[in-house]
């Protein structure tokens, strides 16, 4: 639209075209060629709700940006080659030692390139943060029910990002060709070879011959700097486009519905907040990189298959499969001359795949069990979906125990314990722990639901102790402010699970569609899913509660105004007009 022709007046004086401003002219020039105004008009004012937990995914996004920036710096000096050279650089302890060009160039980046070590460490810390923030973002999404319809596919994209990010981390960890990364690649070679029948073929294909060969580093390099970042970028773009399309979820509250989004617009508020957050994430990465040493490759020395070091661990995100591998009893069997190494195959190939598939399917499993096909844009508090919350806590517990197993040697020396006993304990704990965690979390959530109802019906505890004329003591409860009461009750009632008969037949004597053994299982799961959940109080119950408290207030009225001073600042009411009563 050409704004220069718009009238400057709607009064009696003649309209004159105002002089076009310079920025307007540039914008017009660009819009005439790119047609962005329509898009910008719609999206620059896009509203995002405000909550700290909605910014966790942003940590992942910004650490990815840091990874791209520092990664480009590193590619300028890194030589992805396994050609052997004799080191003659600055680091004295390795001078004269034969090593691969990859390791020599890593040393060069660390000691001879200005700012190189800082960039290396920033890259590594940002990688750790990237995967970690994806995981806490995932937890937030699941705990609040943001994975429900219509966002299931965005959950799937997020899971793919998580696994690709992990692979990206592993390939990066392998590139410097130091003792740890070589040990990691050696372990990966073993995992591949543990695949029944085709394992050795796959290994020879990947390494271009027998391990280690000369091709693995150049190949991993291409995967690390081209293939995976490309996929990650594409998936991040898809993830964010879907976010814009679905609009952000929000917490329930007065004025917030399934059909609106209450918050601040992108420009200027969220652009500033998100842009500022980028600098904070960048700053945290730089702070970690400048204060804490990470992967001191010069101490590890070049990889050599004859060497290994105590404390050989992968980076943290690969720690849990490593832990499963460490505590797996050594079982293998032989069929027709083929050895199946269950001790490697189960913990490293089967378990992570299984966990990943479970993770991918979680939204679909939940929807199948609950039968909920509605769209959800209002979030649930974790306590209001006790089974879901407990399920994720159980998975987290399992993850944490496998994680601990991955550091069993460090635990042993730091706790002065026996590594064998830690291993035996964890073998049982990875099965028992999640079950215990599930039960405890579920009951905990239900108790919190009860607490909410208690507050709704009987008011909140003021902390004011009243003494009656007879000398009895009671704590005074006051009703919640309406907005808080609304927020607590703005949730759906769980559906009532009716009785179910497997052999239920319709009028023609044919079983109703979808009713059979699977439907029976689904019914049983649905019953378990909702069992013992506490529903929000009904209107009648609320009124009864209010009536009761009014009665209580009447009884306490003579004592009103004699409350201990200061209790009016209990955080439940506006205190603009309040002052200490003395």
């Amino acid at each position: 639209m050409d704004t220069s022709k718009v009238a400057s007046s709607n009064t009696t004086t003649a309209a004159t075209a105002s002089k076009p401003k310079r920025i307007g002219a540039v914008a017009t020039w660009a819009d005439e060629r790119l047609g962005l105004a329509g898009l910008a008009k719609k999206n620059l004012r896009k509203v995002f709700p405000d909550h700290w937990s909605f910014m966790l995914g942003e940590i992942a996004l910004w650490s990815f940006v840091v990874l791209l920036l520092t990664g480009v710096f590193l590619t300028l000096w890194f030589t992805p080659s396994m050609g052997e050279v004799q080191y003659n650089g600055t680091y004295e302890q390795l001078r004269g030692v034969h090593m691969s060009e990859a390791f020599a160039s890593t040393l060069r980046i660390s000691f001879d390139v200005r700012g190189g070590l800082l960039m290396r460490q920033m890259h590594h810390w940002a990688a750790m943060l990237f995967v970690a923030s994806m995981m806490i973002h995932l937890l937030r999404v699941f705990f609040t029910g943001a994975h429900r319809k219509p966002r299931e596919l965005n959950w799937v994209i997020g899971c793919l990002l998580l696994i690709l990010g992990t692979l990206e981390g592993f390939t990066g960890y392998s590139l410097p060709d130091d003792l740890l990364s070589g040990t990691g690649v050696r372990a990966a070679d073993g995992f591949i070879k543990a695949t029944p029948v085709v394992g050795t073929y796959m290994s020879f294909f990947l390494f271009g011959g027998e391990f280690p060969g000369e091709s693995i580093i150049p190949r991993l390099y291409v995967v690390h700097v081209l293939l995976l970042p490309g996929l990650l970028l594409a998936l991040i773009a898809a993830h964010m486009l879907l976010l814009v399309y679905h609009k952000h979820t929000q917490w329930p509250g007065p004025g917030r519905t399934e059909k609106n989004v209450v918050g601040y617009p992108m420009l200027p508020v969220y652009a500033a907040k998100a842009g500022g957050f980028f600098f904070i994430v960048f700053g945290v990465t730089a702070l970690l990189a400048s204060l804490l040493s990470i992967n001191a490759v010069w101490k590890l020395g070049p990889y050599d298959p004859s060497k290994v070091t105590a404390g050989s661990q992968p980076d943290w995100y690969m720690g849990w499969p490593d832990g499963a591998l460490r505590i797996m009893p050594g079982i293998e069997s032989e069929f027709w001359g083929i050895t199946i190494s269950w001790n490697v195959m189960l913990p490293i190939l089967v378990l992570p795949m299984l966990m990943f598939v479970i993770l991918l399917l979680l939204p679909f499993l939940e929807a199948w069990i609950t039968g909920d096909k509605r769209e959800h844009h209002l979030l649930q508090r974790p306590r209001n979906a006790p089974t879901r919350t407990a399920l994720m806590v159980a998975l987290m517990t399992m993850y944490g125990l496998f994680w601990a197993a991955g550091g069993n040697d460090i635990l042993a020396i730091k706790l002065h314990a026996s590594i064998n006993e830690i291993t035996y304990f964890l073998r049982g704990a990875v099965f028992v722990g999640p079950i215990l965690a599930f039960i405890i979390t579920r009951r905990w959530c239900i108790s919190l639901q009860r607490k909410d109802n208690e507050t709704l019906l009987h008011g909140y505890e003021t902390g004011i102790i009243m003494r009656s004329a007879e000398g009895g003591y009671s704590e005074r409860h006051l009703p919640l402010p309406d907005s808080k009461a609304y927020t607590l009750t703005a949730r759906d009632r769980d559906p009532v699970v009716d009785g179910f008969e497997v052999d239920a037949a319709d009028a023609n004597g044919l079983p109703a569609p979808g009713e059979g053994r699977i439907a029976a299982l689904r019914h049983r799961l649905r019953t378990l899913w909702y069992t013992d959940n506490v529903q929000k109080p009904s209107q009648a119950e609320l009124e009864e509660g209010h009536h009761h408290s009014e009665h209580e207030h009447e009884l306490q009225e003579p004592l009103d105004g004699r409350a201990a001073d200061g209790h009016q600042f209990d955080g439940h009411h506006l205190v603009d007009d309040e002052s200490l009563r003395h």
Partner: protein, 292 residues
């Protein structure tokens, strides 16, 4: 003769010089001292033997009080009824083994367990010397190494640098599997552990290599020559002198503490910042709204 006379005459000219008396006294002292050392050398050796015997006797007295309960009254070791060893025989372990165990405080042992921990030593240097001499007297074994065995002081700068680089490779090949790439220690089966080497003295490292205490294998001079042992020690000492190039080293234990730092500090700071950003939102007025 004339020549002699002439030079004697020249010398004689200085006989009244103020320095003459001093020089004569010095010459006399040198002569008597020289003769005494030449003659007394044999007696000194005899003294040393005598003092070694005294040392062994003193060591034996200490041994009977502090060690014989487990190692036997003559260091022959004590076996329990079911065939376990209460304390191993010390015949032939050598002074190096005794000195290592005593000077790192591992012996006398406080209690039996998966592994004997290092602790403040129970004996002073003289007593350790006496006990080591006594153990050495039980049978031939490695002697306490001399400082020249493990010091690279005598080498030129280039030789030193080469020794450190060589020692690093030997260390990474032979020692890191248990002691970790930086000598931070590692876990061994059933509660055992390879101790950290950050503060172990050069002498103790050399002795440990030589005698293989507890779980540690024995690196004889056949499979790791004295020079190679020296180089390993030089490498370990060079790590101590080296600045932490990348910042605080997190205990030098590899990726586990790094992951913890990423979660605790990295994610902690970022989430803290997110909470802060979400808690502070826009104001329409630049001035702070007055609460009152």
């Amino acid at each position: 003769m004339r020549l002699l006379n002439r030079s004697a005459g020249r010398l004689s000219r200085h006989r009244r010089s103020p320095l003459a008396g001093l020089l004569v006294i010095l010459a006399g002292l040198l002569l008597t001292g020289g003769i005494f050392t030449a003659v007394a050398n044999t007696t000194a050796q005899a003294d040393q033997t005598a003092s070694n015997e005294e040392l062994v006797a003193k060591g034996r007295a200490l041994f009977l009080v502090s060690c014989s309960f487990c190692h036997g009254q003559n260091g022959e070791g004590v076996s329990t009824e079911n065939g376990n060893q209460l304390g191993p025989s010390l015949v032939g372990v050598g002074a190096a083994a005794a000195d290592f165990q005593l000077s790192t405080g591992r012996m006398p042992m406080a209690q039996p367990g998966a592994q004997v921990p290092s602790k403040p030593e129970a004996f002073d240097d003289d007593e350790i010397a006496a006990l080591s001499a006594y153990v050495a007297s039980l049978g031939p074994g490695p002697a306490i190494p001399d400082e020249s065995d493990y010091s690279i002081e005598g080498l030129s700068d280039e030789e030193r640098q080469a020794a450190i680089a060589r020692g690093g490779q030997i260390f990474l090949t032979n020692c890191t599997a248990c002691h970790n790439f930086q000598g931070s220690g590692g876990a061994m089966p059933r509660g055992g552990y390879a101790p950290a080497l950050h503060e172990t003295s050069a002498k103790n490292i050399y002795q440990a290599l030589l005698t293989g205490p507890q779980n540690m294998p024995n690196f004889t001079n056949g499979n790791l020559s004295p020079e190679e042992k020296r180089d390993v020690i030089a490498y370990l000492y060079s790590l101590r002198d080296m600045p932490e190039y990348g910042g605080f080293g997190l205990g030098g234990l590899g990726p586990v503490p790094e992951g913890m730092a990423a979660w605790l500090f990295g994610i902690g700071l970022c989430v803290g910042a997110a909470v802060w950003i979400a808690a502070h939102t826009t104001r329409s007025n630049k001035k702070k709204v007055d609460a009152a």
